[in-house]
């Protein structure tokens, strides 16, 4: 069972690599859980394939989605990946909480190695394959619409980024079915992840999945930055851009500078593991502390990569649902830029205890506290935006309010951790785990879910069910407090993070409470699925084809829902920040253009799926030492890039008559629709046309 099977072909694969075989030989709860997880991946994968075949949707899937270069479809696919991965990582979180709640004074039901795999996949997925694809999807969908462009600057590169992310996510899924994942946490610290301590496939899965995600994000950053700098419609000056676009720009800049350190860290670790280099080993001059520097030079800006877009989302949500202009727009822009710059000056606070001098720790501690200032500015901006506004407690607004309360709390514990002497005390305890969940759940997840609810009607043309939205939102809030407040107590009492079994019985009630919270978070996700299901069934009643259900401000609300492929029949010309909001009050925003013109759009291309599948295959080959597969994959990637450079017939034209037909049918719908006042905007009376009082 432990001998390699056909090593030339399958590398280091043994029958024991399959969790099903392990569970057959050793049917403990631990192995059965692993086998069940692998089984779910295999069965649901087959179910999806069968479903597509039965519904005869392969051609549709290929031409409408997989090969499409439309930034809107790419954005949706990113978010689909994020939601699937969120489900998995959430289940893993529940398993860990359950294990710790059960394993007080006994070993529990999840073995130590398996527990370590769980926290490693949970962290890696939540950051690289949940938060990143989700926000990248939102940025992809919204930024071109908000700046009045027809697509991003480099649509093919955009599709390649999507497919590299998908390949990374597929690698994460493969690790459930074949082999084991890393036990080294989401940060993969050597020397523990070096070949000497971890000869298996686990760290290699981590290295390649993360590397694919990292390369994809670097390219996304380049793409979004160029789009925002160079593709804005006439009159859209930088200081007229919606705040979400501003935060997207800052996130893109952070990606360009912060993803390369991650690529370097994983690449050097790979050189150590594959070719016997000595970057981070114990012996022969390796320096594992250098890895900590490289990783957190990425890792800290990464925190802001995932939080800044949420700040943008909250800015849009709070201003829309208060019917007020954003308070202190300029200060918000400056604060966002300040955070982006400062985020590169604090990485060392992730390892105050590593042994550098007290003065170095003090400098980074002060920098860390300084970063709280621009963040505080933003909180005041949002509060003042609501002040004397016509505030409506819709689902996105509840997320925004919960964020403001919870995030400030997390920020305060962050200030505690920024003091090196205090950090020494709570370092590596659950206090830290509580702190960063306290930042990332309200600071990223709530924001992403608020965006999902807020822009869903724009993307699909009908509103989400409000009641289930609020139930889900409430569960996310209550679940968060129950799951993570006890961890502060536990951490302050000295409970180490990543503990598989607990000896101290006094911890038990807190662990029970945290487990209850984790279950409520699971219910929150279930409610989200129910909401989607209910909304799809009632989509007729909640139709908002006209496209402006919330009396929105930015340009994305000025087109139909869903927007046409070309976004704008005629590219807008704006003369102020809230051009559409103002136009609704002063002119006729739905007046047809004087003339329609032909629009050139990119043809579909198979190059991105080919590169994605080949890079998935190549990295899988590298993980399993199937060298033929790795080489074959790399050759295919190279050939695809060169072949694409020879394609000249890249565009197709949408004739003016077709543009006119699509645009006029939408304008007729706007003329037929009943304007809706704000008080009943969440009822079926909302057809996507805002009633304007001025």
């Amino acid at each position: 069972m432990t001998d390699p099977v056909w090593p030339m072909l399958l590398g280091r694969f043994t029958w024991d690599s399959l969790p099903f075989v392990r569970a057959w030989h050793n049917p403990t709860t631990n192995e059965l859980i692993a086998a069940a997880a692998g089984g779910i991946v295999v069965v649901s994968g087959i179910a999806v394939l069968v479903l597509i075949t039965v519904l005869r949707r392969w051609r549709w899937l290929w031409t409408e989605w997989l090969t499409s270069l439309d930034h809107k479809k790419i954005g949706i696919l990113y978010i689909v990946i994020a939601l699937v991965m969120l489900a998995r990582a959430l289940v893993e979180a529940n398993l860990m909480r359950l294990q710790q709640a059960v394993a007080v004074g006994n070993p529990g039901f999840v073995a130590p190695e398996h527990f370590a795999e769980l926290f490693s996949t949970h962290g890696s997925i939540m950051i690289f394959f949940m938060a990143m694809p989700f926000l990248t999807g939102l940025i992809n969908y919204l930024v071109p619409l908000q700046i009045g462009a027809r697509d991003v600057a480099f649509p093919v590169l955009n599709a390649i980024s999507l497919w590299l992310t998908a390949a990374g996510a597929a690698l994460m899924m493969a690790s459930l079915v074949i082999g084991r994942f890393s036990t080294g946490g989401w940060s993969g610290y050597p020397p523990f992840t070096e070949i000497g301590f971890n000869p298996g496939v686990g760290p290699d899965y981590w290295i390649w999945a993360v590397t694919l995600g990292s390369l994809a994000s670097t390219m996304t950053g380049i793409n979004i930055a160029v789009t925002i700098y160079k593709m804005r419609c006439p009159g859209m000056k930088l200081m007229r851009m919606p705040l979400f676009t501003w935060t997207s720009l800052c996130t893109a800049i952070l990606m360009i500078f912060a993803m390369p350190p991650l690529t370097v860290a994983t690449a050097l670790l790979a050189l150590d593991r594959y070719l016997g280099f000595h970057f981070f080993t114990n012996a022969l001059g390796g320096n594992m502390m250098h890895y900590a520097n490289l990783f957190w030079m990425f890792g800290h800006p990464e925190v802001y990569i995932v939080i800044l877009p949420a700040f943008g989302i909250y800015s849009e949500v709070v201003s829309t649902f208060s019917s007020k202009e954003l308070y202190g727009y300029k200060s918000l822009v400056i604060a966002t830029m300040a955070i982006a710059v400062l985020s590169f000056t604090v990485w060392l606070h992730h390892f105050f205890t590593m042994g550098q001098s007290a003065s170095i720790n003090a400098a980074f501690g002060i920098a860390t506290m300084a970063i709280g200032v621009p963040t505080g500015v933003k909180i005041y901006n949002w509060i003042w935006t609501m002040f004397r506004g016509e505030v409506r407690f819709t689902t996105p607004m509840i997320y925004a309010l919960a964020f403001m309360m919870t995030f400030v709390l997390g920020g305060l514990t962050g200030i505690i951790l920024a003091f090196p002497p205090l950090d020494y005390i709570v370092h590596n305890t659950l206090f830290l785990v509580a702190h960063f969940h306290n930042m990332l759940i309200p600071g990223t997840l709530y924001g992403l879910l608020a965006a999902y609810t807020f822009w869903f009607p724009k993307v699909f043309g009908y509103r989400l069910d409000e009641r289930w939205g609020r139930i889900s939102c409430l569960c996310w809030i209550v679940g968060f407090y129950l799951a993570f407040m006890p961890l502060y107590v536990l951490g302050a009492s000295g409970m180490a993070r990543r503990t598989q079994a607990v000896m101290e019985t006094a911890y038990r009630p807190w662990l029970y409470m945290a487990e209850a919270g984790a279950l409520i978070l699971l219910c929150a996700f279930a409610a989200l699925i129910v909401q989607l299901w209910v909304s799809i069934r009632r989509r007729g009643a909640n139709d908002v084809f006209v496209g402006d259900p919330w009396d929105g401000r930015a340009l994305e609300w000025s087109v139909s829902a869903p927007p046409p492929e070309f976004n704008f029949a005629r590219l807008p010309h704006v003369d102020q920040a809230h051009w559409f909001y103002d136009a609704k009050r002063k002119y006729a925003p739905y007046a047809p253009p004087i003339a329609y013109h032909d629009i050139w759009m990119l043809r579909n291309s198979a190059v991105a799926p080919v590169i994605g599948i080949a890079s998935g295959a190549a990295t899988f080959g590298l993980v399993w030492h199937m060298w033929w597969l790795a080489i074959f994959g790399l050759i295919v990637i190279f050939a695809a890039v060169v072949a694409r450079s020879f394609v000249r017939d890249t565009h197709r034209v949408i004739p003016a008559s077709e543009v006119a037909r699509i645009d006029e049918s939408w304008r007729e719908a706007t003329a037929r629709a009943q304007p809706v006042p704000r008080e009943i905007e969440t009822s079926p009376a909302n057809q996507g046309l805002a009633l304007v009082r001025s």
Binding site: A153, F154, T218, G221, I222, N223, A225, V226, Y229, K230, M231, I256, F257, M259, P260, P261, T263, V264, L268, L271, D272, L275, G276, F277, H278, F279, A283, L284, G285, G286, N287, H290, L294, M297, V642, S645, F646, R648
Partner: protein, 208 residues
């Protein structure tokens, strides 16, 4: 906006080809940003080299394995190749016959290949003295940095080959022109990285 306005850093096509010039704006700007993130990768590898420099683990030291002669020759080769690529760029901009562009690209390609041959010779010399990457942290950092530049040169050479084929197939169409501009930035960027390698790896390494 006049057609000859500078739209991006580096050689512009304004004044000779207004249409491609307009298209080049975001294409070239995007490539600059890509180079910037590539430069971050090199910067971190230089930092890594600095950190690992004392970690010779009783093995070969910089003074014992570096040679000034060949590395100086490599510097001259690469700098000259930048000049010849610049000639190709100017020929492309001013619409010279395709043969001229081809010849300058071929010279650049040849200089790049000779550079790689020299570098390969350096590395095999080091191997022969027992200076291979698995020997120490210092050598790991050296072989993490310098051959990555070499790999970039190989990528540049393959790119030149592809562009020579595209010149034959498509002539000087807009995409060929834009890609030649990008390739130029890439090739000159490799020069800058090499100058950094020569002056922070080889020269200080040879000080007694």
């Amino acid at each position: 906006m006049s057609a000859s306005e500078t739209k991006h850093a580096g050689l512009n096509l304004g004044g000779t080809d207004a249409k491609t010039h307009a298209e080049a704006e975001h294409a070239i700007f995007g490539f600059w940003i890509f180079l910037m993130s590539d430069a971050v990768i090199f910067a971190l590898l230089f930092a890594t080299y600095g950190v690992m420099l004392p970690a010779t683990a009783g093995g070969p030291t910089p003074t014992s394995v570096f040679k000034i002669g060949p590395t100086f020759a490599e510097t001259l080769l690469l700098l000259t190749s930048s000049l010849t690529y610049g000639m190709a760029s100017v020929a492309m901009k001013h619409g010279s016959p395709l043969g001229g562009i081809h010849r300058w690209l071929a010279v650049t390609l040849l200089l790049g290949l000779i550079f790689l041959a020299f570098e390969w010779h350096d590395f095999s010399d080091m191997f022969a003295q027992g200076a291979y990457p698995t020997r120490s942290g210092f050598l790991s950092a050296f072989f993490g940095l310098v051959p990555l530049h070499g790999l970039h040169v190989i990528a540049g050479i393959v790119w030149i080959l592809v562009m020579m084929v595209q010149l034959r197939v498509f002539g000087l169409d807009a995409r060929v022109k834009i890609n030649l501009l990008r390739l130029g930035l890439f090739w000159h960027f490799l020069d800058i990285v090499w100058i950094a390698i020569f002056s922070t790896v080889y020269l200080p390494g040879l000080l007694p």
